[in-house]
């Protein structure tokens, strides 16, 4: 029906059949244009062009259609991002957990009940921007903040060794050094800077400032994306069934389309891979509307524990349970940082 409608417009405008015989192929193209509007990803922008065409009349040249491009879509996306940026910085200020409760004041009673339970264990929340990179930004800030507070030189040495391993992984997967080395260097620089006692040492306040600086934050996010992608491909046999469960893609395609590009959201696969690659345990606390059979509300969490021998504090053969020092709050589609009491 739409097809006929558009054909009608084109005819009404004298666009079809209106041929200038100098180029039979352009004629052919014009004729086919009526059919293609029905399909395809570019349908909307094409229709927009149609309306434009209609406004300025049949005298418009075909060339004017090029005024509306994918760039329109890209522009709209960046507008949406800018709007989101107004609301929350990459990493926000620490807020008491009550701030979370007030967000749901008129919301689901299950959530309010769960937030109350959360309040028994956790004191505060730090929000991150919902731009698809929230997991990585939360991890970045939480990890660096932990090093800044603990001044744990052994942990820094340990993770640096893991970072070198990740570098070799990427090299062995065929990445040219120059494609990832800038991102690695920037992360290592932040790591050195949070250790005190050097000229380049930074305060907690400066860490917050840097985490809100796009040129630092995006580069560190990209560092994590490279590390995550490298780990997934290195152990593709392990990750393949999880990836097949999520998407229909191969491991390679998944990394290309859902790990490496900025703004692609993270899932269990990403968290497992990053935690394993860097040997850093991560706790994710789930806040959703699922209720418990037992009646009383409880909040689930899942600990991502890297394979033994890789995690900090682990002595060989030890069965002692590792308690992650990074805790993230997951609400469907988003991660924030949680602070235990």
């Amino acid at each position: 029906m739409r097809h006929g409608y558009i054909l009608g417009i084109l005819k009404g405008m004298g666009y079809i059949p209106h041929n200038s015989p100098e180029d039979p192929f352009i004629d052919h193209i014009k004729h086919n244009t009526a059919v293609q509007l029905k399909f395809g990803r570019h349908r909307n922008s094409e229709r927009k062009k149609m309306q434009n065409q209609e406004k300025c009349g049949a005298s418009c040249e075909f060339d004017d259609w090029s005024n509306f491009e994918d760039e329109d879509i890209m522009q709209q996306q960046s507008d949406i991002k800018a709007e989101e940026a107004q609301k929350v910085p990459f990493v926000a200020d620490k807020e008491p957990l009550s701030a979370l409760a007030s967000e749901y004041q008129s919301g689901s009673p299950i959530l309010l009940e769960k937030i109350k339970v959360l309040g028994e264990q956790y004191a505060a929340i730090r929000r991150t921007r919902g731009d698809g990179n929230c997991f990585f930004r939360s991890f970045m800030f939480s990890y660096l903040e932990h090093i800044l507070a603990s001044q744990d030189q052994a942990e820094v040495d340990r993770i640096k060794a893991k970072v070198e391993e990740c570098r070799r992984t990427l090299q062995s997967l065929g990445h040219a050094d120059f494609t990832f080395e800038d991102f690695f260097a920037l992360f290592l620089e932040q790591l050195d800077n949070v250790l005190q006692g050097n000229e380049s040492s930074i305060s907690h306040g400066e860490l917050v400032v840097r985490s809100r600086d796009q040129s630092v934050s995006d580069y560190v996010v990209m560092f994590f994306r490279f590390v995550t992608s490298g780990e997934i491909r290195k152990r593709s046999e392990f990750f393949e069934p999880f990836i097949l469960g999520l998407t229909n893609a191969t491991v390679e395609q998944f990394c290309k389309s859902s790990v490496e590009p900025m703004g692609e959201e993270s899932d269990h696969v990403h968290i497992t891979a990053l935690s394993d690659a860097l040997g850093v345990p991560i706790r994710v606390v789930y806040l959703d509307r699922s209720s418990c059979d037992s009646g009383g509300a409880s909040v689930n969490h899942h600990d991502f524990i890297p394979t033994p021998g890789d995690c900090p504090n682990a002595t060989s053969g030890s069965t002692e349970t590792t308690i992650p020092f990074i805790t993230l709050l997951y609400r469907p589609g988003h991660y924030d940082i949680l602070y235990p009491k």
Partner: protein, 157 residues
């Protein structure tokens, strides 16, 4: 800005070093502006573009490599995913699937792969896409071949 310049300089050195590694791609940086590049790519064999040499123009944004380069065909080409007039290319890695793991060189390779494997379901040149979608392979190939001869091959005589 500084980061993008440094990265592009590394790519420039790599291109110089690997000049003969890929005979199908000739990537050249503008003499006075490292953010402007052009490439000559050979049409892949066993396609209607075979024997043609196609020129691409790269405009690299200051946020590179976090943001993709803008790439257009300067040589006219009849292909479902290339705008017939502007040369704009519909390729996911130049849009939302971009990542810094790509380089200008590997983007050229991806474009050559796109020439060999058109995606008629997301057309920028819908006439070309329709020929393929309707199964008129011969029609598509002869159109593509004609434009390759007209625009991408040296004139005889």
């Amino acid at each position: 800005m500084q980061a993008s310049r440094a990265r592009l300089f590394k790519e420039y050195k790599e291109v110089q070093r690997e000049k003969s590694a890929d005979p199908d791609i000739q990537l050249v940086c503008d003499d006075s502006n490292i953010f402007k590049w052009t490439a000559l790519i050979k049409g892949p064999s066993e396609t209607p573009y075979e024997g043609g040499v196609f020129q691409l123009a790269f405009a690299v944004p200051e946020q590179y490599p976090l943001q993709p380069p803008q790439v257009r065909f300067l040589t006219k080409i009849f292909h479902p995913n290339v705008h017939f007039k502007t040369g704009e290319i519909c390729l996911d890695i130049l849009k939302n699937a971009w990542s810094p793991a790509w380089t200008l060189q590997s983007v050229c390779r991806a474009i050559i792969a796109l020439m060999a494997h058109p995606e008629p379901d997301s057309p920028l040149n819908c006439d070309s896409g329709n020929l393929l979608r309707s199964g008129d392979i011969r029609g598509f190939q002869s159109m593509a071949r004609m434009y390759t001869r007209l625009a991408a091959m040296p004139k005889k005589g």
